[in-house]
């Protein structure tokens, strides 16, 4: 039943995404601009990486795509709450968990698709990286999307309006991006900033992804990255499930 319901909810929202292809491409725009107009600035700089500057920048941009995109997933559910769609679905016998998972998996599919587009663009800009590393990177994008989208839907179910939700999410995503070293690696940071960034889980994901992009799969960064990604996903889906099971919203 959970699988049936999840597939059903996924289908509903996937069709919604396909109806607004423009919005989907628009999501790639910001990281693409970074790639085009910020990426070339880094090519000659010493970034402390074994590979090229593209192998440092692209993993960060992919996670940034997911960070900014998935965090705002909840907006949709606020609109659906206002139109009564959420309650209409909640009076049917549909699995509460499926109402969350179907949406979250749609988001994961959308952001992995956008990540693929971005990697293709990056290949034209000069990125060279092992295929296994690139594929592993997509797994990190998917896990981060699942985590952040779950939390975003949970917050949106609790939020009274989009005026409450938008600023709250903005206040969390912007510092998270800066403190996790998505643009430039935190190995360049002074001690205090490096220390601070260790409290932001995304830092471990981006460090691991940068290792993957230079073909290093057995480093301690990779271990911490995998642990952080799996831990974050587990925690976020648990929180999301609890909210969806009980929400009187």
């Amino acid at each position: 039943m959970l699988l049936h319901d999840t597939a059903l909810v996924f289908g509903r929202y996937a069709r919604q995404t396909l109806r607004s292809r423009f919005a989907m491409l628009f999501g790639v725009l910001m990281p693409l601009l970074y790639l085009l107009f910020f990426g070339p600035l880094l090519t000659g700089l010493p970034l402390g990486s074994r590979g090229s500057s593209w192998q440092v920048l692209v993993p960060g941009l992919l996670l940034q795509l997911s960070l900014f995109g998935a965090s705002f997933s909840g907006f949709m559910i606020i609109l659906e709450k206002q139109s009564g769609v959420v309650e209409r679905m909640r009076v049917t016998p549909v699995s509460r968990l499926a109402l969350l998972l179907g949406r979250v998996l749609r988001d994961a599919a959308v952001f992995v698709f956008q990540a693929v587009l971005l990697v293709i663009a990056a290949l034209f800009m000069g990125l060279r990286a092992p295929l296994a590393g690139i594929l592993l990177g997509f797994v990190f994008v998917a896990l981060l999307t699942v985590s952040l989208a779950s939390l975003s839907y949970a917050l949106a179910m609790k939020a009274r309006s989009q005026h409450e939700f938008g600023p709250a999410v903005n206040a969390l995503t912007m510092p998270s991006m800066l403190l996790s070293g998505l643009m430039l690696p935190m190995s360049l940071a002074p001690g205090w900033l490096d220390l601070l960034s260790r409290f932001v889980p995304f830092r471990y994901l981006v460090d691991a992804m940068r290792d993957a992009y230079v073909g290093l799969y057995t480093t301690s960064s990779m271990l911490y990255g995998v642990l952080a990604a799996v831990g974050l996903t587990t925690l976020a889906v648990t929180v999301g499930t609890r909210v969806f099971r009980t929400a009187g919203a």
């Binding site: 059903l8 069709r15 009564g84 909640r90 009187g248």
Partner: protein, 260 residues
């Protein structure tokens, strides 16, 4: 055997300014096939009661059964037995009528073929056939309401909850909706539990009225019984009875000068 029965059903909301008792203990029985009008001023607890009876909101006190299923122990059973149309409705404006109806059937665990067939049946029954391939945003108010009700009837529920179903409809659409509600009861024996602010509607449609105020039931009876008891005559208007019951009547005529 009543189809809905509640005992001391209550809901308290915790807010920053302390607890708010929206519903303070509702004791109610509804017979199978009855059309029940649930009336009360704004904020009386009508929607909160409806949301509890449809499993959307857990009660903080009391108990209730709907179609033999306990609200707290067997919410899934309640969901299979009842349909609910919220004030806001509940369709996505960007989706076609057909897609919403089919997805709704699938949410009730029909197979794809069954859901497609059921969508067509419902469209036929509720006069939506011509509109199946329109987006929900393109429907008129009356058409939207019929779609909302079609969605709630997907699984042939024994109880249908309607929250202010005719608010904002033109007189013709209201009359159509009344006919539809009567037809549901007459042809399918569906129990209909509806809230409304239109007293003419309550009078014309309901077998029995329950008036709530401040989270409690303050009157219960047939429309004529309430008129006789609270307004002094069965020829009185339900408006007079309602105002007498809820104590929000117009000020006595001699309390203020009409002109100086």
């Amino acid at each position: 055997m009543p189809i809905i029965s509640t005992a001391g059903l209550a809901r308290t909301f915790q807010t920053k300014r302390g607890p708010v008792e929206a519903v303070r203990g509702i004791d109610l029985t509804v017979r199978s096939g009855e059309i029940l009008g649930f009336l009360g001023p704004n904020g009386a607890g009508k929607t909160t009661t409806l949301r509890m009876l449809t499993t959307l909101l857990p009660p903080t006190g009391g108990a209730a059964t709907v179609a033999g299923h306990d609200l707290v122990d067997d919410p899934a059973g309640v969901r299979r037995a009842c349909g609910y149309v919220a004030q806001s409705g509940g369709v996505d404006p960007q989706i076609t009528v057909r897609e919403e109806l089919v997805t709704q059937g699938r949410l009730y665990r029909l197979t794809k073929e069954q859901a497609v067939r059921r969508a067509e049946e419902l469209a036929q029954d509720l006069d939506l056939t011509e509109l199946l391939d329109r987006k929900c945003a393109a429907l008129s108010g009356g058409q939207r309401r019929r779609l909302d009700i079609a969605m709630a009837l997907t699984h042939r529920p024994r109880v249908l909850f309607l929250d202010e179903p005719t608010t904002g409809l033109d007189p013709g659409s209201r009359a159509d909706l009344w006919d539809l509600v009567r037809r549901l009861r007459d042809e399918h024996g569906t129990t209909v539990f509806l809230t409304t602010h239109y007293l003419d509607e309550a009078d014309a449609l309901s077998d029995r009225l329950v008036v709530v105020d401040d989270g409690r039931i303050v009157a219960d009876g047939t429309p004529s019984a309430l008129k006789l008891r609270y307004a002094g005559s069965i020829d009185a208007s339900l408006q007079d009875a309602f105002l007498a019951i809820t104590g929000r009547g117009p000020a006595p005529a001699d309390s203020a000068p009409v002109a100086v």
